[in-house]
Amino acid sequence: MIRVSDLSVNYGAIRALRNVSFEATPGKITAVLGANGAGKTTLLRAISGLVTPQTGTILLGEQSLARVATENIARMGVAHVPEGRGVIEELTVEENLRLGALASKVNISEGIEAQYAQFPVLGDRRRKYCGTLSGGERQMLAMARALIARPKVLLLDEPSLGLAPQVTAELMKTILSACESENLTVILVEQNAKSALRISHDAVVLHLGAVVASGSAAEVAADEDLRRYYLGLVEE
Amino acid sequence: MRWLRGLRRQETTPTRLISVAVLTAVALAITFILPPVANSQLAGGAAITIVILGLSWLIGWSGQISLGNSGFMAVGAYAAGIWAHHHATTPLIFTFALATVVGGLSGLVVAIPSTRLRGPYLAGMTLAFSAAITPLAQNFSSVTGGEGGIFFNTLTTPGWFQHLFSGVDATINANAQWTADLAVMTAGVTFFIMANLFHSRTGRAMRLVRDNDVAAELMGVNLSRTRTFAFVVAASFAGLGGALFSLINATVRPETFPLTLSITLLTLMVLGGIGTLSGAVIGGIVYSFSTNLVSHINSLTGVNPASNLGANMQGIIFGVLLILTMLFAPRGIAGLGIKAVNLRHSRAVLASDENVN
């Protein structure tokens, strides 16, 4: 599980996160919602050690992640699918997957085969360079590459961005089933609050770097003010 | 330092002229006191100052990294040498003008393919140029004198100079003070030109091109013309400096312009302060007395100057200085000076990027 307490991050004079606290528990999806610039991406980057927080602590289970290098956080079982998916276009599908498994203790070829079984499209494209993949295929590859190392925590940054609605729906189902079958702690950053809330168990709403609401996904989804002012979910 | 800094801002051309004239006069006065050896060192330093002014303009202001300025120096030196060899009676000023123009032309030739290149590509390309130029000179040995080079032995001290300072020897290489005076005056003139260039419209356009070429283009600055112009200016300064440098040594030879000269130039420029007028002067002064400096260090550390290590001490010290300056004080001595003077505003100065001059 991930426990964030009192986390603040500054970029120069700009305060990207202000005293953010929340918990994400295993076997559950925690959605982090909010508008552009709310600090969602910064939150994930802080958990992965890509940015150094000014104050606050981040715990992975009982272990503090303060001053732990990004690569070591990844090796401790935190998989982070960054904004734009982070698929390395100049490498093949199989090389990307191999890279995902390298730092972990899993058997690489077995792991890759398991992912091909899960995502048959990737198996068909295994020798293709990733620059040739479609958006949906890239997202699948990014998921597969994150899951291959059997992580404890999965951080997803805007996975639905640029995907068609059916593909998004498919993706959300995949995330949910991975979360439940592997007992994963999933933190799902989304602008698309509607599809995120549909599969999430818990939700945190960020606004200008601060938490304005947190609770179960159902509660957040039911709050009319939140829907209207922070999530942009106004039904006419 | 504060004095030189006066040349920076809110200065008009007349005040700049006065400052440079006073500075030059002080330097000229010093040549009356210095012994001949120190005078010829000073002359070399003044010649190098001219080259560094051009280099600093090119790298610091237009953002184009060149390792080819020793090549431009060679071009200017050979132009002057070959001309003087055949036309001994030509006034020196014409020979220098020729070196400046031919140097500038060589800059144009290099600039045409190079201004499309950035950073390391450009640095490597200009390095290749300076590596190719001296073998080329050796190849046409009937004109360039090959390995042995050309001697400037027929130049004489002008009459007015002899009248001004009685007892001055007529042959050029016999009188160190006259060469030093000549070099200092030439350096003064180029310094004045560069000070104006730095603050001209072109100078400002140059900095814009360096910092943000897209914005510059949107504002109607012609990128390739501006970059080419920077090259031509730097090369003509190097051509003039090279001619002067050879005149002081009374010969033009390939071995005067080795690849390591480019390293020396770069070191002096970085040490003085990239893109600064005062830095070029500091670089020139450091060059003037580098031999003394090195022998002093040799004696301090007890290294025998005749030993292998002693003979290579200058290369080691220069290289180490260059590395340390770049790692710990990338704005050079001029940058440190500004920091010391502007302690109160130091934050603002530091924030306003590398180009404080």
Binding site: H80 | G119, F129, L266, L327
Partner: protein, 298 residues
């Protein structure tokens, strides 16, 4: 057939290839560093030269040629790794002129120190291969056992490097670190370590080039890699600094060009030949022949 082999055209081809493989190795070593750290290492030639001095002068102490070669490469790799850690690491994220200036300064220091230790006198390193040209039908073929060894060694090294990058776990991590350092770190790749290893590999490849050069008729002296570095850089720029294949092809192109200029014009203008090729290529493709994208990266 034998008259073909002894023709001046074929002699130039052999000579150009022999020189070209050295340039290819230097170019390849520059590309390895460029890809991972975006630094053009101006001290590459000097570093390799220094490593060759340390390694090959052990012949004087009775070490065999082959052990000296291995020693040179090991010293070169260590030197490369230390250089990256000490001189380059503080400069990541700084303006691109900073590492250029630092490496130019380092070049000066290495050459001065080498001259201080071993003097500037050229010395010959005797390779266990004859330098005497073969004969066919009574005429010379400009190939000697040493030249054949030189070409084979260079090709083997290139293939080893290619295989390392292509087929090993280390190679995959090296490529990922160069292509997308942040993503690589998120996947647990120790990117900083990869950068150091990249510099070590590069310096090792450079050392092989210096060893070959020193073992041939050129000899070993403190500035012997200067011209080779310039030619190697031109080769890398012709091929595109991003492309290992381009580096190797560029090296052969420059080697052959220089050889033909040398043969049909004059030895002293040979360096100019390479430069003219570079100018011609860059006028058409400012990022070299083999780079995939034409977007501005430099």
């Amino acid at each position: 057939m034998s008259s073909f082999l002894t023709s001046s055209f074929m002699s130039n081809i052999f000579g150009g290839l022999a020189q070209g493989v050295i340039y290819s190795l230097v170019a390849l070593s520059l590309v390895i560093i460029w890809q991972s750290t975006h630094v053009l290492n101006f001290a590459q030639g000097a570093m390799a030269m220094f490593a060759t001095y340390v390694g090959m002068t052990q012949i004087d102490r009775g070490l065999s040629y082959w052990w000296c070669v291995i020693l040179s490469v090991v010293v070169g790799m260590a030197f490369g790794g230390i250089t990256e850690r000490v001189l380059i690491r503080p400069l990541y994220g700084k303006p691109e002129i900073n590492p250029i200036v630092v490496m130019v300064g380092f070049l000066g220091v290495i050459e001065a120190v080498t001259t201080a230790i071993w003097t500037s006198t050229s010395r010959n390193i005797a390779a266990p291969f004859s330098q005497i040209y073969f004969k066919a039908g009574g005429k010379l073929v400009l190939l000697s056992p040493f030249i054949i060894f030189q070409i084979i060694l260079a090709v083997v090294i290139m293939m080893l490097v290619a295989a390392l990058f292509r087929f090993t776990r280390l190679g995959l991590q090296l490529r990922a670190s160069a292509l997308a350092p942040e993503v690589a770190r998120l996947l647990g790749v120790r990117v900083n370590r990869m950068l150091t290893i990249g510099w070590m590999l590069s310096a090792g490849v450079g050392s092989i080039a210096a060893v070959i050069l020193a073992s041939g008729s050129f000899g070993l002296f403190p500035t012997n890699m200067d011209g080779v570095f310039v030619a190697g850089f031109i080769a890398a720029a012709v091929g595109g600094l991003d492309s290992p294949v381009g580096a190797i092809a560029g090296g052969l192109i420059i080697g052959l060009t220089e050889q033909f200029v040398l043969a049909y014009w004059s030895p002293s203008v040979a360096p100019l030949g390479g430069m003219i090729v570079l100018v011609a290529v860059l006028m058409i493709r400012p990022h070299g022949i083999f780079t995939r994208s034409v977007s501005r990266r430099v």
